[in-house]
Amino acid sequence: MNTRTGITRRHLLATGTAAFGASAALGLSSRRALAQSKVSFQLSWLHSTQFAGSYIALQEGFWREAGLDVSLQPGGPNAPVEPPVVSGSALIGISAADYTAAAVEEGAPFRILGVAMQKNPFVIASLAGNPVNVPGDLEGKRIGMALANTPVLQALCTLNGVDIDAIEVVPTQYSPQPLVAGEVDCLLCWETDLPVAMTIQGVDNVTMLMADHDYAVHSQTYIATEDSLANRRAEIVALMAGEVRGWEAYRADTDAATALTLEMFPDAGLDLETQKLQAARQVPLMFSDLTDANGFGWWTDETVAANIETLALLGRTVTPDLWDRSILEEVHGA
């Protein structure tokens, strides 16, 4: 594992130096010669360390060297990712396998090009004094979540033989407050946001990662349209290559990545400690033996099969065609 990282980093350094050398040799004219093509990249949430790998790629010029002028578009609670990608105003978007599957059912010609979060970030968060450590612990508990996520809970229960009728679902906003106030015993949320907030606020909490209990849904997936894949392939490859380099650098030093995030987005209201913890917690979700072996964003037929199975439980029928690994293969030189 270590060796692999070492090689990748050395490889990164080498290409970086080479690129630097080239541009230094050619001087300013070279930059003009490399006509910068403008590319929009639609993120799935507000700017935060969640996308710090992309910020590194932008800041370090990984994209600029490849002739891409990338603008990162923040998302938000009322900002769906799919429409700008469908309409072509964004070349690539950050979605998730379940949302992508829904959009494809509605006729969007999407392909998944890469998987940033190998493990789905959904967790059951609970207080240390009354923990949910395994799915079976859910029985007899009150869970706070958006009713819209009922299929997610249903899928978890089915996968683990838990009786969902034994769980009391309380509709809540996406906030840790109901758990802290004792209105519910646990929350359905992301590993990287509400539990982090509680920890920072000094609330002792435990999380049970649903991905560790067979809930296999690729998250933070890169999507593009079939049309873009056919006609703007070079830009997509360059963009994904930058992403891969950015996230490898992120993994090497999440604190530095977090510092960069706060520096680039001073108006986003980000708290350094919260963001540091979030960045660290994100690493095990994004990097695994699989990515160590094959590179960032990778998947195999087995993980896709597991995804198709879980997605079916969520009411989404998809085929392995949804995943298109050709871009990653080009990036990683496989």
Binding site: S40, L46, H47, S71, Q73, P74, G75, G76, P77, N78, A79, P80, E82, P83, P84, V86, S87, S89, Y99, A102, A103, E105, E106, G107, A108, A146, L147, A148, P171, T172, Q173, Y174, S175, P176, Q177, P178, V180, A181, E183, D193, L194, A197, M198, I200, Q201, F265, P266, D267, A268, G269, L270, D271, T274
Partner: protein
């Protein structure tokens, strides 16, 4: 004179201190104590903690405020200019009046939750969705008083213009424009906080900075001080905006802006049903045409841009039409459970408090300006607070809707109660009738027009409130269906929900208008032309 003034000032000051400062001071003290008692519940931030937060983060807050204010300001300008242009057209071409009102109401009833993402797709990155949402939030509340003001003038003034052989345009330029100014100002006062709200909601569609961005961050991060600090700043901005516009108005109008903000109900005498029907058909056709042409002109991708025909298909002829209808009906039912009690409670509470103040006039001095100011607090900031305090059950939502309805109703009713003709009050006094009897016999009938005007204008406002709360806090009802269908790319459902909500709001508005005419025919026939 001078001595009297000098003598009066300290007394006046102490009166102000006792009357209007003591109450708020006590409230702040209670707030502080309650917050300390509730530490650990992550609900209430003490005023002192809010001050500490603001003093430590003033630069961040200031930058966010600057961004949101700039967008709100641009939207305020655009929305109000649009209102002025529409009102001008309606006056110069009186035949277009009903159409303009109808379409304006329909557009105002479009839920922000759904228009936000659509605007983001149309305008792409940048501040435009924020600006347009701010403009959409203000134009109607300016248009309506403006239309009233442009007509609220003695007929002699118009005869004067005509007697020199001049037409509607000259009347508009020389007479109506200035006559409508106080009404325009009243509309602008309401518009200032609404623009701020619109800009904040706009930031939810993907923005890098601003008060809305920080609000999301604070809620997710369980940062109670930040949540409350944001609410305090937004409220202060809204109230200051309201006061500044009022102050500027007094400075050059030498008069208070009028308070009634809704027109008298459209003339709908018996036998005019046919005309009303034709009117409805014309408005519907125009709306459908605009919808269809808008999609064509903007050349939007059919994946998310659904036309009228798509919605009809989704609701009636598609294989899953029955399922779509039942989803919508179920969600609307859930919403109605919060909306209707909240709306009624807000109306009743507003009217009741106004009456109480008439019976106990000592309170009025502070209550009225306070209520007028609080009317401008944006729901985006109150929603998290009310839900924090009251939880996300039915109570929280009902209370939020009630609060949204309460303040405008209270202000309008108090104004109406005070409109009671002095001579009739004198007649009752001459029979030694007590204040209660005066209230029942004279003041309440005098209040009815204002009450109903508020009730009508509050229909779209309460729909906005309930959908925002459902979307941001409770996660059920039609607000949640709209948010969810956007994230699941179910745009047939989203557009269907938008269409249904807009139509139901407009019908609700018309329904209240109908009831209003029935009641006013009995109590205030002079209000019906």
């Amino acid at each position: 004179m001078t001595t009297a003034a000098a003598f009066a000032t300290p007394r006046l000051l102490s009166g102000v201190l006792r009357g209007s400062l003591l109450g708020p001071l006590a409230a702040i003290l209670l707030w502080e104590l309650a917050a300390h008692a509730l530490t650990g519940a992550f609900v209430l931030a003490a005023p002192s903690a809010i001050l500490v937060y603001l003093s430590e983060n003033w630069a961040l807050m200031g930058r966010a405020l600057g961004v949101t204010l700039a967008n709100a300001g641009a939207g305020f300008l655009i929305g109000n200019l649009a209102a002025i242009v529409l009102a001008t057209i309606a006056i110069v071409l009186p035949r277009s009046d009903a159409l303009i009102r109808g379409l304006a109401l329909l557009v105002f009833c479009l839920p922000l939750v759904a228009t936000g993402p659509i605007l983001r797709v149309v305008f792409g990155p940048g501040p435009w969705p924020q600006i347009i949402l701010a403009a959409l939030a203000v134009y109607y509340t300016t248009l309506i008083p403006l239309l009233v003001g442009l007509r609220a003038l003695p007929s002699g003034w118009l005869d004067l213009v005509r007697s020199y052989g001049r037409g509607r345009l000259a009347a508009l330029v020389h007479v109506r424009a200035m006559a409508a100014l106080p009404y325009l100002i009243a509309g602008l006062q309401i518009a200032a906080p609404a623009a701020f709200l619109g800009a904040m909601v706009g930031e939810f569609t993907g923005a890098e900075r601003g008060m809305g961005v920080l609000t999301i961050r604070a809620m997710r991060g369980m940062n109670v001080e930040m949540t409350w600090a944001l609410a305090v700043v937004a409220t202060a901005v809204a109230v200051i905006g309201y006061l500044v516009i009022g102050w500027v108005a007094r400075w050059f109008l030498r008069d208070e802006p009028p308070i009634i903000l809704a027109p008298p109900p459209a003339p709908g005498r018996n036998g005019r049903w046919f005309a009303a029907l034709i009117n409805g058909v014309v408005i519907t056709c125009a709306a459908l045409l605009l919808w269809w042409a808008g999609l064509k002109l903007l050349n939007l991708n059919p994946f998310f841009a659904k036309g009228p025909w798509d919605v009809v298909t989704a609701l009636f002829t598609a294989p899953d039409a029955a399922e779509t209808r039942s989803t919508l009906a179920g969600a609307l039912g859930e919403t109605a459970v919060f909306l209707v009690p909240g709306y009624l409670a807000g109306l009743l509470a507003g009217a009741a408090l106004a009456m109480l103040i008439i019976l106990v006039p000592a309170v009025a001095g502070t209550a009225m300006p306070l209520a007028i100011a609080l009317r401008s607090v944006p729901i985006i900031t109150t929603a998290p607070l009310v839900v924090l305090i009251l939880g996300r059950g039915a109570l929280g939502t009902v209370v939020l809707v009630a609060i949204m309805v309460f303040f405008p109703t209270f202000v309008a009713c108090l104004h109406g109660l005070r409109q009671a003709p002095g001579r009739i009050i004198d007649v009752l006094n001459s029979y030694a009738a007590g204040p209660f009897e005066q209230l029942i016999r004279v003041r309440i009938p005098a209040m009815l027009p204002a009450f109903f005007a508020a009730a009508r204008m509050n229909v779209p406002a309460s729909v906005l409130a309930v959908t925002v709360v459902e979307w941001l806090a409770t996660g059920n009802g039609i607000g949640s269906v709209m948010a969810l269908s956007a994230s699941l790319s179910d745009y047939d459902m989203l557009w269907s929900a938008v269409a249904v909500v807009a139509i139901l709001s407009a019908l609700g508005y018309a329904g209240v208008g109908l009831l209003e005419r029935k009641v006013l025919r009995a109590y205030a026939p002079e209000q019906l032309l």
